[in-house]
């Protein structure tokens, strides 16, 4: 099937337009992070007058970026790990058993996606405060509160995607495991998990991105010591000055790990989406 000229023109126009749209902020972020502050403040220029890596050095001392980075890393990794574990178990149950409440469970989990975050932000905050005063478990201002909160954010999508993946694994494999005398969890660990590895990885990436980029709950549930990057990066603007070159250097630095991870796994991600959408 040959491509017509019209199609070629359409493709060229779409690709040029979207490339400009997508690349402009990336270009601005990268070049500004290499400009001296005076350069940035004297008006926009396409090219730095001098290329400097000073902003990447200074950004660590203008705000306690290292601390925010560690907080983000701990919270995000823990939330990702637990989210994947909890979602895997739940998805295994949903995929392999027809138990009472299976349908309602899936509906409830998925519909929590639609709830406005603000609706449960205030109650969650008050509940966390109460748990603290009643049971002495500090959840506000600690990383634990944020970890529990974040891990539930990626849970619905993770369960949805993994059920699709698990459904695609033939039950004969489970049966073969049973014949060999393996228990349910052994079957999950030895048969289902290896076969669904791309899906698990994709879910982990999604959970990581969700937690790494969350702003609203981070701004309410953290204090100076536990602040994450999402809130911390806003501190580069002071009363008198905005350190734009450092802010964008920091933005670039905290983006790279996530973007690289996502791009490496994008094929899994697309495959996972298809597995879920086919149902």
């Amino acid at each position: 099937m040959r491509e017509t000229t019209g199609e070629k023109i359409f493709r060229a126009l779409v690709l040029i337009g979207l490339t400009l749209f997508v690349a402009l902020p990336l270009y601005v972020m990268i070049t500004t992070s290499m400009k001296p502050l005076g350069d940035v403040q004297s008006g926009f220029s396409w090219f730095p007058s001098t290329i400097t890596f000073e902003p990447f050095v200074q950004m660590w001392s203008t705000v306690p970026l290292a601390r925010y980075f560690m907080n983000s890393l701990i919270v995000t990794l823990a939330a990702t790990l637990f989210s994947v574990a909890v979602a895997t178990l739940a998805a295994y149950a949903v995929s392999r058993w027809r138990f009472h409440g299976r349908g309602p469970f899936m509906t409830t989990v998925l519909s929590t996606q639609m709830f406005p975050g603000v609706l449960f932000l205030l109650p969650l905050y008050l509940i966390f405060v109460n748990i603290d005063t009643m049971f002495g478990v500090p959840l506000v201002g600690t990383r634990i509160g944020l970890i529990i909160t974040y891990l539930t954010f990626s849970l619905p999508f993770a369960i949805w995607m993994l059920v699709g993946y698990f459904d695609g694994i033939p039950r004969e494999l489970d049966q073969a495991g049973k014949v060999d005398g393996a228990g349910n969890l052994t079957i999950l660990l030895r048969i289902i998990l290896p076969a669904a590895r791309p899906g698990i990885v994709a879910v982990a990436i999604y959970a990581f991105m969700t937690a790494w980029g969350e702003v609203l709950f981070a701004s309410v549930l953290t204090t100076e010591n536990t602040r994450t990057l999402a809130v911390g990066l806003q501190q580069y603007s002071t009363q008198t000055n905005v350190y734009w070159n450092q802010v964008l250097a920091a933005s670039l630095a905290v983006s790279i790990p996530v973007v690289v991870g996502f791009l490496m796994m994008q094929k899994n991600f697309v495959a996972g989406l298809t597995a879920g959408a086919v149902k």
Binding site: F44, F120, L122, L185, V254
Partner: protein, 325 residues
């Protein structure tokens, strides 16, 4: 962490004749056991706070009662009356915020859909450099939200931003350098930034959907002399219907509830033209410390989203059933 201790129990199945009943009951319990962590967490973080939020919308939860919020006095529908009373600034601002959000959602979802579709169709056939474009287009989706919105905030600065540099200095389209983050232009700004972030998701979903369309369908329609546009209408679009159905609803809900984009773009004082509803409710609650009215607004928002979703699902399901019959 019961789930961590469970493997040993199940990997060593008890042997002997009298072990059968407990095994059966355990097998029956097993799915409940492994689903329990998910249920507990959903309860703690979503369901219970949701129910509490619903209750909060009926009590007077002002700053006097925040510390002992369980004792806040019941006021019935008073919070709702305050929220929607158009004779007061509170009600007028909520209505303004709602209308801004409706316009914002329609534009962001519609244009993201269009751009995502155009890109997916343009990248449908293999050609040299396809992988590069595919990767590039996914970057906005992968970037942490605050990193990209902070960059846009810099780009939209009046005196030092690239947007005014291009529009005023280089192209001369505009005379005086306008403000983009305050005043009426704030609406355009937040729409563009949200589209920049959202359209790659549509692109991703469409790419996933296009992979499942068999090439023979295109070959057959080409033999019948169908133009590319006709092929798109008669093959691509119908085959993408299931993807479209879920995606449009999900995007609608995300965009309508978007808090982070205006919060990072505008800071704590949002311009009236960019006063998106989640952010509005947040400010209404935390500025006046009236969580009761804030909760009432949240519940109204939820009811609205629920109603739209149900109507949407009703019609899409109904259409599906009709086309099957």
């Amino acid at each position: 962490m019961t789930s961590l201790t469970a493997p040993e129990e199940t990997t060593t199945p008890p042997k002997g004749p009298d072990s059968r009943p407990p095994r059966r009951s355990r097998r029956h319990l097993f799915p409940y056991l492994i689903i329990a962590p998910a249920v507990l967490l959903e309860l703690l973080i979503h369901i219970i706070p949701m129910a509490t939020g619903f209750w909060m919308s009926f009590v007077e939860l002002t700053k006097f009662f925040i510390r002992r919020w369980l004792e806040a006095p019941f006021v019935g529908l008073e919070n709702y009356r305050i929220a929607i009373d158009l004779n007061t600034p509170v009600g007028q601002e909520l209505l303004n915020s709602f209308l801004v959000t409706v316009g914002f959602t329609a534009l962001v979802v519609g244009l993201s859909w269009g751009l995502g579709m155009a890109a997916a169709v343009a990248l449908q056939r293999p050609f040299r450099g396809r992988g590069v474009f595919r990767t590039l287009f996914l970057i906005p989706y992968a970037l942490p939200l605050y990193a990209s919105v902070i960059t846009w905030n810099f780009m939209l600065q009046r005196d030092t931003g690239v947007v005014n540099h291009v529009l005023v200095d280089q192209l001369g389209i505009l005379d005086g350098a306008p403000f983009w983050l305050i005043g009426d232009n704030a609406f355009i700004s937040v729409v563009v930034v949200a589209i920049w972030r959202m359209w790659p998701f549509a692109f991703l979903m469409f790419m996933a959907g296009l992979q499942s369309i068999p090439g023979e369908l295109y070959e057959a329609s080409a033999m019948d002399g169908a133009s590319p546009l006709r092929q798109w209408r008669s093959v691509t679009l119908p085959m993408l219907a299931p993807v479209n159905q879920t995606m449009l609803l999900v995007m609608f809900l995300w965009v309508f509830n978007d808090f982070n984009t205006p919060y990072v773009l505008f800071g704590s004082a949002q311009p009236r033209a960019g006063d998106l509803i989640s952010f509005h409710i947040y400010n209404a609650s935390f500025l006046s410390w009236d969580f009761g009215v804030g909760s009432a607004m949240s519940v109204l928002l939820l009811l609205f989203l629920l109603a739209v979703s149900l109507v949407y699902l009703y019609f899409t399901q109904w259409k599906k059933e009709k086309s099957n019959a």
